[in-house]
C-alpha cells in the first residue's frame, strides 16, 4: 500500500507539472510564474519551499538523537524569516525582476555584480541541493527497498522533468499542495504521539515486541572478560593495547542458547559490567543479523528507561497533553536511552557494527548541550554562536526563497505572503519538537541514519500514515529541489548568459537555456547527493545557510541601508563571503573526518564558519566601497 500511495502522489505531481507546462511560454512565466500568484498561495508555497528535507527529515532526526539541540535549527530557521520580512521582502520585490541579482544590480548596472551574484546563486543553490538529494536517497530505502543512489537518481530525474517542462508555476502549486499536506499530516502524527503517551517498554502499539537490552556482571581472568552468569558463554573479544602496553577489552561476543550477542565492557572501580549493544552483522554470504537474529529490516532503537522516576508498567502514562509530554521528558528523573555507534570491525568473514547505549537524564535532553557543546571550550561555544548566526542570517539570502518574491504582483503581496509563511512554518517547527521526541522514545530511530526518524515514527502507528508521510517527504524533496534548480537555472540563463555576456536571446531561447541549465544543475545535484550519503541533512543545510548568509546578505543589507555602497564593494563582498564560507567548511574538522583524516588535523577548528565569514564579508564591502568612492562616483541609495 505504501508504494501505491507513494506512486499516486508522484504521478499527481507530474500531472500538475505537465498541465501547467502548456501555460508557460515566456521567460517571465518560467522563472516567476508571470508574477501573478496570489499572496496566500505564495505564502504556503514559501512554506513548501522552505520546509525541505532538512526541516522534516533532518530536524526530526536530530531531535530524535540529541534532543533539544535539533530544535535549535527550528528556532534559527524561523528567526531567519524575521530578517526576510522586515528587511528584505519589499525592497527585493521593488528592485528585482527575475533573480536576486537583478535587485543587487538595479542601482549599478554592473557586469561584475551580475557575474559574482550569478555564481554565488549557483554555489548556494548547489550547497542547498546536496542535503535535499541525500534526503531523497534516505527515503526510498525503507519505502521502496531501493539503494540510496537509486533514490537520488529517481528524485533528480523527476525534478528535471518537472522543471524542464513547466517552471515556476508548477513548482508553486506543487509547493502549495505539499506545504499544506505536510502541516496537516504532521499535526495528525503529533496528536497520535500524544495519544499513545510514554512507556519504558515501547512496542509500537503492540506491533513490535519491546527488546530489552540487558546488563550482566562479569569477571576478568587471564586477559579475558567472562560473563558471571551461567546462561552466557564466552565466544570472542575485541581488545586494544594502550601505549603503556596494557590490554583493554572493549567488546565481548557471548553465546546464548540460540544466538550470539555483542556486549560492551564497562568497568567501575573493581567491578566489571557487560552492557548489551545493538549489533548488526553482515555475514560473508550477505545474510544480515540484528542482535544475533537473522533480520533484514532496519535496526530501530530509542526508549525511556525511567519516566519521572518510575519504570516498568507503572511508568506508562497513557494519553498525555502537549505540555505534559514535554514536562515529563524534561524531568531530571526521566532517563532516555540514546544510542551511539561504538565500533565497526570484522569478525572472521562477518562485518560487525555495534551501537552502545547512553543513558541521559531528561533535563539534559531538553536543553542545548548534547550536540552543540555550550558548556565546552570557548571554540565549541563559538561554534554554537556561529550556527545560530548563520541560521538567523541565512534565510533572507537563499536564492530559491528570494525568487519567490517575484511571483506575486506587488511589494504588499510580498509582505503578506511572508507573514503567511511565518505562521505556517512556525507552527510546523513547533511540531518538529514533538515528532523528534516521539521518535526518540518510541523505539523507531535507525542509528545508521537518523534522517528517517519522522517517517519511521509514522510507520509505528500504521502503514497508511507512513506511506502518506513518506510521499509528502518525497514531494518535499521534489519541491525544494525544483525551486533550487529554477533559481540556479535563472542564474545561468538570465544573470550570466543574458545579462553578463549580453547574448541577445529572445523569450523562447531564454526558456530553452533555462531548461538546459536546469538539466545540468540537476545532474550535479544527483552526483553530490550520492557522495554525501549518511550525513544529517539539517546539519548540511546549516552549512548552506552559512554560505548564503556570507555571500549574499551583506550585499543586500548594505545596498539597502548604506548610501556609500559601491559596485566594487558588492562584488568583493560576495566573492570573499563565498570563498571564506566554502573554504572554512572544506577545512573544518567535520569535513576532515569525511576525508578519512583526523579531526585535529583540520587547520580551521570551527565547524560552522558564519561567525567569521559573515562579518568578514561585511567588512570587505565597507573597505572596498570606501576605497572605490571616487572611482565609481555612485552611491547605492535606494530610497
Amino acid at each position: 500500500m505504501a508504494f501505491i500511495i507513494f506512486a499516486a502522489f508522484v504521478t499527481f505531481v507530474l500531472f500538475l507539472s505537465f498541465y501547467f507546462a502548456r501555460q508557460t511560454k515566456s521567460a517571465s512565466g518560467f522563472f516567476t510564474a508571470g508574477g501573478q500568484i496570489h499572496w496566500a498561495v505564495n505564502g504556503v508555497s514559501f512554506a513548501g519551499d522552505y520546509l525541505s528535507a532538512a526541516s522534516f527529515l533532518g530536524i526530526c532526526g536530530m531531535i530524535a538523537v540529541v534532543g533539544y539541540d535539533g530544535f535549535l535549527y527550528s528556532i534559527g530557521y524561523l528567526a531567519g524569516w524575521v530578517v526576510a520580512l522586515f528587511i528584505v521582502a519589499e525592497p527585493m520585490k521593488r528592485l528585482g525582476k527575475y533573480t536576486f541579482t537583478d535587485a543587487l544590480d538595479s542601482t549599478f548596472n554592473s557586469p561584475g555584480i551580475r557575474l559574482a551574484a550569478g555564481i554565488s546563486t549557483l554555489i548556494v543553490s548547489i550547497c542547498y541541493l546536496i542535503p535535499q538529494m541525500v534526503g531523497a536517497g534516505v527515503l526510498v530505502t525503507p519505502l521502496l527497498g531501493l539503494p540510496h543512489a537509486v533514490g537520488v537518481i529517481m528524485v533528480g530525474t523527476i525534478v528535471i522533468i518537472i522543471v524542464a517542462t513547466a517552471g515556476m508555476k508548477s513548482t508553486t502549486y506543487v509547493q502549495f499542495i505539499k506545504g499544506a499536506l505536510l502541516i496537516i499530516f504532521s499535526t495528525i502524527l503529533v496528536i497520535a504521539v500524544c495519544r499513545r503517551g510514554l512507556s519504558t517498554e515501547p512496542d509500537q502499539g503492540g506491533k513490535k515486541p519491546f527488546y530489552n537490552y540487558r546488563k550482566i556482571s562479569a569477571i576478568q581472568e587471564n586477559g579475558r572478560v567472562l560473563p558471571a552468569e551461567a546462561e552466557f558463554k564466552f565466544a570472542v573479544q575485541q581488545a586494544h593495547t594502550t601505549p603503556q602496553g596494557e590490554l583493554v577489552v572493549d567488546f565481548v561476543k557471548l553465546e546464548e542458547k540460540d544466538r550470539f550477542t555483542w556486549w560492551k565492557v564497562s568497568k567501575n572501580n573493581e567491578t566489571i559490567e557487560l552492557v548489551e549493544t545493538a549489533s548488526v552483522t553482515i555475514r560473508g554470504d550477505g545474510s544480515r543479523f540484528i542482535n544475533g537474529i537473522e533480520n533484514n529490516n532496519e535496526l530501530q532503537l530509542g526508549s525511556l528507561v525511567q519516566i519521572a522516576g518510575k519504570s516498568g508498567k507503572d511508568a506508562n502514562t497513557g494519553s498525555v497533553g502537549v505540555f505534559k509530554l514535554l514536562t515529563l521528558l524534561s524531568d531530571k528523573d526521566t532517563i532516555v536511552k540514546r544510542w551511539k555507534k561504538a565500533a565497526v570491525f570484522s569478525d572472521g568473514d562477518h562485518m560487525v557494527t555495534l551501537f552502545a547505549p547512553i543513558e541521559t537524564a531528561g533535563n539534559k535532553i531538553m536543553r542545548p548541550g548534547l550536540q552543540f557543546k555550550v558548556e565546552g571550550t570557548m571554540l565549541q561555544r563559538l561554534d554554537f554562536i556561529s550556527l545560530m548566526l548563520a541560521l538567523f542570517c541565512g534565510t533572507a539570502a537563499l536564492p530559491h526563497i528570494l525568487i519567490r518574491y517575484y511571483t506575486v504582483p506587488s511589494p504588499a503581496c510580498a509582505r503578506k505572503s511572508t507573514i503567511v509563511a511565518i505562521a505556517t512554518i512556525g507552527f510546523f517547527y513547533i511540531l518538529t519538537l514533538y515528532m523528534g521526541l516521539g521518535a526518540m522514545v518510541n523505539g523507531v530511530v535507525n542509528p545508521f541514519s537518523d534522517n528517517m526518524s519522522a517517517p519511521l515514527l509514522a510507520r509505528s502507528f500504521n502503514t497508511f500514515l507512513f506511506a502518506v508521510i513518506s510521499a509528502i517527504a518525497f514531494a518535499t524533496v521534489l519541491g525544494t529541489v525544483s525551486g533550487l534548480i529554477i533559481a540556479a537555472s535563472g542564474a545561468v540563463a538570465h544573470d550570466l548568459l543574458d545579462r553578463f555576456y549580453n547574448l541577445q536571446f529572445n523569450e523562447r531561447q531564454k526558456v530553452i537555456i533555462g531548461k538546459a541549465a536546469a538539466f545540468t544543475v540537476g545532474l550535479i545535484a544527483i552526483i553530490l547527493g550520492i557522495v554525501f550519503q549518511g550525513m544529517n541533512v539539517s546539519y548540511l543545510v546549516g552549512w548552506a545557510f552559512a554560505v548564503a548568509a556570507s555571500a549574499n546578505l551583506p550585499a543586500i543589507i548594505m545596498l539597502l541601508f548604506w548610501k556609500r555602497t559601491t559596485a566594487a564593494g558588492i562584488i568583493a563582498s560576495i566573492t570573499v563571503g563565498v570563498i571564506a564560507a566554502v573554504g572554512m567548511i572544506l577545512l573544518s574538522p567535520d569535513m576532515f573526518e569525511r576525508y578519512g583524516l583526523l579531526r585535529s588535523q583540520a587547520p580551521f577548528q570551527l565547524n560552522q564558519p558564519g561567525v567569521i565569514s559573515i562579518p568578514l564579508s561585511f567588512i570587505t564591502l565597507v573597505i572596498v566601497s570606501l576605497l572605490t568612492q571616487k572611482k565609481n562616483g555612485q552611491a547605492a541609495a535606494t530610497e
Partner: protein, 97 residues
C-alpha cells in the same frame, strides 16, 4: 529591457515608513534572539529551570521566539497596511505617495 523591477507599475506607498518600522522590529527581535543565544552560552543550566506549566526555560524561550516572530509580523503588516491606505487616499486626493 529585461532589467526592470517586477512591480514597476504597481504603486508602493509609505516606503520610508515601512523601512524604518522594519528595521525597528528587526532590532527588537534580534535582541531577544541574541538573549537566547547568550543564555545558552553563558549559563546553559538556566535553560533547565521550570518556568510555566512545568515547561523549562529552553522550551518556553524556543516556542516564545517562534510565536513572537508571528506576533511582530502581524503588527508590522497591520501598521504597514494602514499607512499604505492613508498614503493611497492622499495620493488619490492629489497628495504625495
Amino acid at each position: 529591457m529585461l532589467h526592470e523591477p517586477a512591480g514597476k507599475n504597481i504603486p508602493n506607498y509609505a516606503v520610508g515608513y515601512k523601512s524604518r518600522l522594519g528595521v525597528l522590529m528587526f532590532i527588537i527581535y534580534a535582541i531577544i534572539y541574541g538573549g537566547f543565544v547568550a543564555v545558552n552560552v553563558a549559563k546553559p543550566t538556566l535553560m533547565e529551570k521550570k518556568i510555566i506549566f512545568g515547561l523549562n526555560l529552553a522550551v518556553v524561550y524556543g516556542f516564545g521566539l517562534i510565536i513572537f516572530a508571528l506576533i511582530l509580523a502581524v503588527i508590522y503588516n497591520h501598521l504597514c497596511t494602514s499607512q499604505e491606505r492613508r498614503h493611497s487616499k492622499n495620493a488619490a486626493k492629489g497628495g504625495q505617495k
